[in-house]
């Protein structure tokens, strides 16, 4: 029997004929007719007119026929809602059939019929099937709940199906569990606030058990669901990781990638010094490499994901360079991706091999690939300084091939190399100039013009070269026009005598004959600069350019964090957040992300969850954000505070948490009215405007970066501030390594009743830093900046600036551990950085802290003895008088002194900025360098800190 004949019936009057056959008495004929109908449906013919006749065939014992009719129903029920009702009876009946396969078939098909009238009839059969004795029916019913929810969410909630579905998570059959998890995950996406998935250690444990037993697909559903969970602490995180790692050996690549996703996310919580952390890192590399021997389409998915993983954790694959070498027969999409990863992994250790490979690739056939290979050589030069010379000579070799697009690409990258290593390779300019005529792409022309302008003094005929471009000025693209304008102005400033005419010509072309406002504006700026103050013009136009960064095409960190949470999915293939390509109204972004952090997940999760979670409230109102909006979204990302008390159940809680550290606060700190977005728009323009820096990072995003929080945690424990003196010596709070070149050190002081944070900002990066702002997380004493961070001039490379920031104590309060811990976020034009420091509590001692004697006595008695703590101060050689004086300087006031048996007893009082009193009794014995101090306070937590202050003040 060949069914292909059904595809060939194209006669006229076909529908009529089919109708007759469908109503035939003979079973075989009926079946044939339905097959024909389905074949017509497949090729796109409208056979909806046959609806009643087809539905009539539904009542049959023949399962094959039944399935065909169901297929037809699913396609056309929506267009014939009234007649679809006819089918309901059969469905209800089939749901009672003794054969579980038929029960399942009925419940599976019913859910696909999207007719409101029918859905009501679905509920009872579905309820039964959810509790069916046969697991096959239950697993089908579980999915049916998701289908029904898609049609009528309210109905599903009202009927209590969600609870039944939740119960199925504890089902004895692993496949039922897997499908229930899949259905719940999908429903949860549209209920960001509901606690649907209710992930807790118990349910996670169930899922992990089911993971070992279910089908490969079920494992994927479960792993994807697990990835939404945030463990409560590193121990839980580790134990989940341990149970997920065996999945890395699964033959199904999707299982492997989903396992990688879970591990990459949970790894964030593991302390880096843990042995297990290193073990886990080592375990991740082999399965990732194995993915590269899968079919090409999967290789592509794997490579796009590896690209993300390499950016997030370069250490995982740093020794695996060779596996990314391009094979001659790889499909082009695999080749291009491999090339990308090769550049990311290039380092001093492997650069020779990489270069040899890239040189091979540059001779291949595919134009895109060759271009990318040439560009990659340039990037290697910029990334690995030792290789720069070899790269340049390789590029020169390539230019000699005279292959047009190779030459153009090479010139574009050589320009970047000049920027990176000034005054080193300019000798090649002559070779470049030889190829001037062959350049026809704007980018290459612009690059060449930049080179000529920049090195005009070394090129004898620079004026002629530039003049030759000027002839077709109006036909050039804007990029080239702008570049030409700047280049000629540079030339004029360098050789004013012979080029006056040329500069006038270009200025008039730009200002008078052009419609392009950018070009005109730039023309006028130059014109005025040159006419008012040529010296100033020289300073502006020929100013030293900031160095370009090593890495290009890096994914913005916040986005990277989010994409890591989406490993294996389309988002990770597109390198875009789901909101960028998923239909707005049912978008994944707004729904899914709150679900990730919203429901009972600890807000203390380090970065991934937070970065994602914070974005949700901001993103919610926009339906389909365009690419531009996307950047906006990223900028608005808030961060939840790293430590709040307990999990926050609702999104609104999250939002509030988010405000603490960086919320809208940063905006208000900025002086401009258009704080964040403006910077973004501004920076590329700047780059193009002066010195044309195409490799300047595309957008210096000001968004708070989740990754920073991780650092914060590291620091939190590590930075022990020596409570040395009244004004402790400055310590480094934020090493340059962790803050893209910004180093911050500082201390705290109390001067004339004002608490001041004294900061030293050092720019150890190559680029200028601007737009500084600062904000504190909630802290024990409500410390908050009393004004903006006054860094008025841009901070140039290797420049240092000292800033004094007055602090108030009226900010929001949250108890920290240790009590005097302060978490700080500092932002500049490059990024946001986080660090934490500890302030000496003595700066909170207020000037009016001297208690009346009577009050002191009464208070001392009044405070229970449990609140008294005793400490020893050792090796202090002051007498009581000197000690008292010294302490007074720090607002620790001596109220009374008693001498008993050669021992001086000093009674002192301290008042903290928040009104807490601390009473002290200091015993000083002449000749004994060890003092004993007793502290009494209604808030005994502060005693330890106060004692530290005593020690610090007395010893310095």
């Amino acid at each position: 029997m060949t069914d292909s004949k059904y595809f060939t019936t194209t006669k006229k009057g076909e529908i009529f004929e089919l109708k007759a056959e469908l109503n035939s008495d003979k079973k075989e004929k009926k079946k044939e007719a339905v097959k024909k109908v389905i074949a017509s449906m497949t090729v796109g013919k409208d056979v909806s007119a046959l609806f009643p006749d087809v539905v009539n065939c539904m009542q049959t014992d023949n399962l094959e026929l039944k399935k065909l009719v169901y297929l037809y129903l699913m396609n056309y029920a929506k267009s014939q809602p009234d007649m679809a009702i006819m089918a309901v009876n059969t469905f209800v009946k089939d749901c009672e059939d003794p054969n579980p396969l038929i029960r399942a078939l009925a419940v599976r098909t019913m859910g696909c019929i999207r007719v409101d009238k029918i859905t009501e009839y679905l509920c009872e059969p579905l309820r039964k099937c959810l509790k069916d004795e046969d697991p096959y029916v239950r697993k089908t019913a579980a999915v049916c709940v998701a289908k029904l929810h898609d049609i009528n969410a309210q109905l599903v909630e009202d009927q209590g199906f969600l609870d039944t579905l939740k119960d199925l998570i504890s089902d004895s059959n692993p496949m039922v569990v897997a499908n229930a998890v899949a259905a719940l995950s999908e429903i949860a996406e549209s209920h960001p606030n509901s606690n649907l998935l209710d992930l807790n250690p118990q349910s996670i444990n169930k899922l992990l058990t089911a993971l070992n037993e279910c089908t490969e697909w079920g494992q994927i559903f479960i792993l994807d669901c697990l990835a939404n969970y945030t463990p409560r602490d590193d121990r839980e995180s580790q134990s989940i990781c341990e149970r997920v790692t065996p999945r890395l050996s699964h033959a199904n690549s999707a299982v492997v990638l989903s396992a990688v996703k879970v591990l990459m996310k949970f790894m964030e919580m593991l302390p880096k010094d843990l042995d297990y952390y290193g073990t886990l890192l080592k375990k991740l590399a082999p399965p990732l490499v194995t993915l590269l021997s899968a079919e090409p389409e999967l290789q592509y998915v794997a490579l796009r994901n590896i690209n993300l993983i390499v950016q997030k954790r370069p250490e995982i694959l740093k020794h695996e360079m060779k596996v990314f070498f391009v094979k001659y027969n790889d499909p082009i999409y695999v080749k291009l991706e491999k090339l990308d990863i090769m550049i990311r992994l290039a380092s001093q250790a492997n650069i020779a091999q990489v270069l040899a490979e890239l040189k091979e690739y540059a001779t291949e056939v595919d134009v895109d690939f060759v271009r990318k290979a040439v560009r990659a050589i340039g990037r290697c030069a910029i990334k690995v300084e030792q290789s720069a010379e070899r790269c340049v000579s390789t590029l020169l070799d390539l230019i000699q091939t005279k292959v047009n697009y190779v030459v153009q690409e090479a010139i574009v990258v050589i320009k970047d190399i000049f920027r990176k290593y000034p005054n080193k390779y300019e000798s090649v300019i002559a070779t470049l100039c030889e190829n001037l005529d062959s350049l026809d792409e704007p980018e290459a022309r612009a690059a060449m013009i930049w080179i000529v302008g920049e090195y005009a003094e070394r090129i004898d005929n620079a004026d002629e070269l530039l003049e030759s471009f000027l002839e077709g000025f109006h036909d050039e693209s804007t990029q080239v026009q702008l570049q030409l304008l700047t280049a000629i102005v540079k030339l004029f400033l360098k050789k004013p005598t012979e080029t006056q005419e040329l500069v006038q010509q270009v200025l008039s072309l730009a200002t008078q004959d052009s419609d392009n406002p950018d070009l005109r504006d730039r023309g006028y700026i130059y014109w005025r600069l040159l006419s008012t103050d040529p010296v100033a013009a020289k300073e502006v136009v020929l100013a030293e350019k900031p160095l370009i960064s090593e890495e290009t095409d890096l994914i913005e960190p916040t986005l990277l964090e989010e994409l890591i949470c989406h490993i294996g999915t389309l988002a990770s293939v597109y390198h875009k957040p789901p909101s960028a390509f998923v239909e707005g109204s049912r978008g994944v972004m707004h729904k899914r992300l709150p679900a990730r952090t919203g429901s009972g997940e600890g807000t203390e999760c380090p970065d991934v969850g937070n970065a994602a979670g914070g974005s949700a409230p901001e993103a919610a109102p926009s339906i389909i954000p365009s690419q531009g909006d996307l950047l906006g979204d990223l900028l608005n990302l808030d961060l939840a505070p790293p430590t709040t008390t307990g999990p926050t159940p609702s999104t609104s809680g999250m939002q509030m948490g988010g405000m603490d550290l960086l919320g809208g606060g940063l905006d208000s700190l900025m002086d401009e009215s258009e704080p964040l977005g403006g910077d973004i728009g501004g920076s590329p323009a700047m780059g193009a405007g002066f010195g044309a820096a195409p490799t300047v990072m595309p957008a210096s995003l000001n968004a708070p970066v989740g990754g920073g929080l991780g650092d914060l945690f590291d620091l939190g424990g590590g930075v022990g501030m020596p409570m040395g003196a009244y004004i402790p010596p400055k310590t480094v709070w934020l090493p340059a390594m962790k803050a893209k070149g910004l180093e911050i050190s500082g201390t705290f002081a109390r001067r004339a009743g004002v608490i001041q944070m004294e900061l030293v900002l050092t720019n150890k990066a190559m680029s200028v830093m601007t737009d500084f702002a600062i904000q504190f997380n909630r802290n024990s004493f409500g410390l908050a900046p009393a004004g903006p961070l006054q860094v008025l001039t841009p901070l140039g490379p290797n420049q240092t600036i000292e800033v004094s920031l007055p602090l108030s104590t009226v900010g929001p309060v949250m108890k920290m551990d240790p009590l005097n811990n302060l978490q700080v976020a500092v932002k500049n034009n490059i990024d946001v950085f986080y660090f934490s420091c500890q302030y000496p509590i003595s700066m909170l001692f207020v000037e009016d802290g001297k208690m009346e004697r009577q009050v002191f006595l009464a208070t001392w008695k009044d405070i229970p003895n449990d609140n008294e703590s005793q400490f020893q101060i050792q090796d202090c050689h002051l007498n009581s008088e000197a000690a008292s004086n010294k302490l007074q300087g720090s607002n620790i006031f001596t109220i009374a002194k008693r001498t008993v048996e050669g021992q001086d007893m000093l009674y002192m009082s301290i008042k903290l900025s928040n009104g807490i009193w601390v009473l002290a009794e200091l015993k000083v014995q002449a000749g004994n360098p060890n003092y004993t101090i007793s502290l009494k306070c209604r808030a005994p937590e502060v005693s330890q800190c106060v004692f530290q202050c005593y020690e610090a003040v007395l010893k310095n």
């Binding site: 399935k67 396969l101 496949m175 070992n212 050996s249 194995t290």
Partner: protein, 436 residues
């Protein structure tokens, strides 16, 4: 999740169209045809986004399979599913061709209904699918049979049904390796790895429990350490063990057991299946070495000399040896002389193809060719694609050895000794290239 699944012929005509989600309309079918199948250029990505709809496609001969979605699906899963779909179809009706698909379209719809529910992949093991998707209806089954089917489809051992019986319990084990090499013209190994598969055909009764062992370095070292007494034994066995970079297993293998004990234990599916895949990069035996010599004589002539050396035991024979030497596009004529086998210039493939039927180990053979070139104005230099090689050798280039495969079936009365086992090693060339 997957919103729809379409199958097209090479012209872009729809052969199968199954929509699972409401957000996918009929226009998606056309969008893919217009933008991908009919696009004049080479496919630049297996994932295409057209008007906010994402299309995943794979091609089998000239048939296109496309999965469509509007959501942020698990991309790796979609491709794995498409491959699986191809496997299932192939096991039902053989080669995936337009003819076969049209002939079996009812069956395909039935399968699609079963293995994908609302876009979520369900059990797709052919072993169990074939028990109830038969194209013959299932009315005749008894109640026991029905519940057996459902428990198998949803069960922990979805890949094997109960009650299988064979008169002769037999096992075939194939270690299939493909050895990949990229060598520089100077004979430096740029990259080399073996990707291997262990393919099993099992004809065993009941629900046997199997345990597979090989000369995995980690296991052997562990065993060596365990027995402190036999120092000598350790050194000999240690020599023969191999370091496996990574391996993946069929879903029948208990992964947690492998993770904790590195032992491979499983209940096998019936018939043929792939038990594991592995990859090694250390101490690979490269069966052949290719030594190229290309000399440009003026602008219109090339002289090529290629020597191949076999590098394995003289008692073994390599088969199906083929060396492919690329020639420039402007080749006008070629003269070839070879010591062994046959060599031909194939103009349509721009290559000299040199075939040798058999070659023993530790031998050497040579080909030399003179290539006449047409003078061209084309400035672009010839890209010099690498010389590639194909062959088959009767050993595992990774050095992998099967140590044991034990079968236990407690309920039936046959033991490990009664099972007839066959083991075979085949090493093939993967991408085996030498740059010239």
């Amino acid at each position: 999740m997957i919103g729809g699944l379409f199958i097209y012929n090479h012209k872009g005509e729809v052969l199968i169209s199954r929509v699972y989600r409401d957000d996918i309309g009929r226009n998606a079918v056309d969008a893919f045809r217009v933008n991908v199948i009919h696009a004049r250029q080479q496919v630049r990505s297996p994932v295409t986004n057209i008007a906010r709809t994402s299309f995943f496609h794979v091609k089998r001969s000239n048939i296109w399979l496309a999965a469509v979605t509007k959501q942020n699906v698990n991309a790796a899963m979609v491709f794995e599913f498409l491959y699986k779909m191809c496997d299932v179809m192939a096991s039902y009706f053989g080669k995936i061709s337009e003819e076969n698909i049209k002939n079996n379209f009812v069956l395909i719809y039935e399968l699609l209904d079963e293995i994908l529910d609302f876009g979520y992949p369900q059990n797709s093991e052919t072993g169990s699918l074939k028990t109830f998707i038969t194209q013959q209806g299932i009315k005749g089954q008894t109640k026991e049979e029905q519940s057996q089917i459902t428990s198998q489809v949803t069960g922990q051992i979805g890949w094997r049904r109960e009650g299988i019986k064979y008169r002769r319990n037999e096992l075939f084990l194939d270690v299939l390796e493909s050895v990949n090499l990229l060598m520089s013209p100077q004979g430096q190994v740029l990259s080399a790895h073996v990707s291997g598969r262990v393919v099993m055909k099992s004809y065993l009764s009941g629900m046997p429990e199997c345990k597979f062992g090989m000369n995995d370095k980690i296991i052997i070292d562990k065993a060596g350490k365990g027995g402190v007494t036999n120092e000598a034994g350790k050194s000999t066995s240690g020599k023969q063990s191999i370091a496996i970079d990574d391996c993946t297993f069929n879903q029948c293998v208990r992964l947690s057991k492998f993770d904790s004990e590195r032992s491979i234990s499983f209940i096998p599916p019936d018939g043929e299946y792939e038990l594991m895949r592995y990859r090694t990069t250390k101490d690979i035996i490269l069966p052949f070495r290719v030594i190229p010599l290309v000399r440009e004589v003026g602008r219109t002539k090339l002289e090529v000399k290629v020597v191949i050396k076999s590098n394995f035991k003289p008692s073994l024979l390599a088969q199906k040896i083929e060396v492919r030497i690329p020639t420039p596009l402007n080749t006008s004529g070629v003269q070839v002389i070879c010591m062994k086998g046959k060599a031909k210039y194939k103009a349509s493939e721009n290559a000299i193809v040199w075939k040798i039927k058999r070659m023993a180990g530790m031998k050497e053979s040579q080909i030399s060719a003179e290539i006449e070139l047409l003078p061209t104005n084309d400035k672009k230099k010839w890209a010099r694609p690498p010389i590639s090689m194909n062959f088959e050798v009767p050993f595992a280039p990774s050095g992998l050895k099967v140590r044991y495969l034990k079968v236990f079936e407690s309920k039936l009365n046959y033991s490990d000794h009664d099972v007839i086992k066959w083991v075979r090693y085949i090493g093939r060339s993967g991408i085996y290239e030498t740059r010239c």
